[in-house]
């Protein structure tokens, strides 16, 4: 006699399909590790210069960094490809719920992680809980010797000591492009603008655009067989796709 096991169908409603709005694809196979993105980002976003000592002690404030590892024992060393790491603008961000002051929140309009500097009281819980370790904290009020203040980007807030900050996907550029498009009564075109890192990349390894548009360049790249997400197993739903293995 057989018993029929009636196991009701379990439907897993993972939000996997739910995508962000803006996204990025980074092709590690063509990245040369030139650090142009790091420099451009710092200029665009008024990231302070922390100096050698602090930088060496793990207090560099770059919103994007280029990771590279040596594998194996000297002299049998293999180098891993360069990997620019920036805020992944997670759809399911671990940094957001842990802030007691609502300083790091999810933007409904742009589907990005926002860091509201004015609300930040500096508990640094978000940075602890960021699996990508891409948040940087203003450990001090870093000096900007003359004439460097002239180079500050007026579109971006200058942060003071005690405040957490991180990559915004150059939200000021997103907004400007959206404003221009709106005034001209159209949608933002693919490739019309790019964040500073993508703009500066000489190898065009960083591509930025709408990931909710399947025809955009970034969506096409991200769909490719080489695409993967950083620490995908955590289920953070990053908006950044890396390409490797070509």
């Amino acid at each position: 006699m057989t018993t029929e096991l009636k196991i009701s169908e379990i439907s897993a409603n993972f939000a996997e399909g739910e995508q962000g709005k803006w996204g990025m694809a980074i092709d590690m196979d063509i990245c040369t590790g030139c650090q142009a993105c790091v420099a451009a980002c710092a200029m665009e976003n008024n990231v302070p210069f922390v100096g050698e000592a602090d930088s060496g002690y793990g207090r560099s404030m770059h919103w994007i960094r280029t990771e590279r590892f040596w594998e194996g024992e000297f002299p049998e060393i293999k180098m891993t490809p360069y990997q620019p790491v920036l805020c992944q603008q997670c759809g399911h961000a671990p940094c957001e719920p842990v802030c007691p002051a609502f300083a790091t929140v999810h933007s409904q309009a742009e589907a990005l992680n926002l860091q509201v500097y004015n609300r930040c009281v500096g508990t640094r819980y978000c940075a602890n809980n960021c699996p990508y370790q891409v948040r940087s904290f203003n450990w001090r009020d870093y000096e900007r010797p003359e004439p460097l203040p002239n180079q500050l980007n007026p579109d971006v807030t200058v942060r003071r000591r005690g405040v957490m900050e991180k990559c915004t996907f150059c939200i000021q550029r997103i907004h400007r492009a959206e404003d221009v498009a709106k005034s001209e009564g159209r949608e933002v075109a693919d490739g019309e603008f790019a964040p500073a890192c993508a703009q500066a990349c000489p190898a065009d390894a960083i591509v930025f655009g709408r990931i909710d548009d399947p025809e955009s360049a970034v969506s096409k790249m991200a769909r490719g067989a080489r695409g993967f997400h950083l620490l995908e197993e955590l289920g953070t739903l990053p908006a950044v796709t890396y390409l490797k293995g070509g």
């Binding site: 399911h92 961000a93 940094c95 802030c99 999810h106």
Partner: protein, 176 residues
């Protein structure tokens, strides 16, 4: 009905036993329980003194405070997120588990605060007015205060002394 003037007396006893005897004796001498009060340096229950049960509002106030705390907790957990809805980490605007924590803490805070304040309310704390008091009670003595008609005072004083009162005298309010 004859008009009698009552006077307040106090009798100090060295121990619980004679104090309890004195209370019984006072009752037989016509002093009703609500005209008596015992002060002591250690907590003795009403049953030990053979006195009617003391009424206390503390448990009721505590419950009321717990309820108030819970309402504040519910407000914090359910209402405040809706006043300024902000999406974080794909959690709901109001998410379940944290509300439990918030409601629990506020309930307990309400309970304990109102218990504490209940003692103040019920005991009329703080009161720095002059009151009937005998400092010796903090050395373990028991003082029985009572008021009786003027004409009975001599009889009662004698009875109290016979039961071992160390002193029986007119009670005077004194600054604490």
């Amino acid at each position: 009905m004859t008009v009698t003037t009552n006077i307040s007396l106090l009798a100090v006893f060295p121990d619980l036993e004679p104090a309890a005897d004195a209370i019984d004796r006072l009752r037989t001498l016509g002093v009703p329980d609500d005209q008596m009060n015992v002060i002591s340096g250690t907590p003795v229950t009403e049953a030990m003194l053979g006195r009617p049960r003391q009424w206390t509002n503390v448990p009721r106030l505590a419950l009321g405070g717990a309820l108030a705390g819970m309402i504040i907790g519910l407000f914090l957990a359910f209402a405040t997120p809706s006043l300024y809805p902000i999406q974080v980490g794909r959690q709901g605007i109001i998410s379940g588990p944290p509300t439990v924590v918030v409601v629990f803490e506020m309930t307990m805070l309400g309970l304990l605060l109102s218990t504490f304040l209940g003692v103040f309310l019920d005991s009329y704390f703080p009161s720095y007015r002059p009151m009937h008091y005998v400092p010796e009670i903090s050395d373990g003595k028991f003082a029985v205060f009572f008021s009786c008609p003027q004409e009975d005072s001599e009889k009662i004083t004698k009875a109290m002394t016979a039961l071992g009162a160390e002193k029986v005298e007119a009670a005077e309010a004194q600054p604490l």
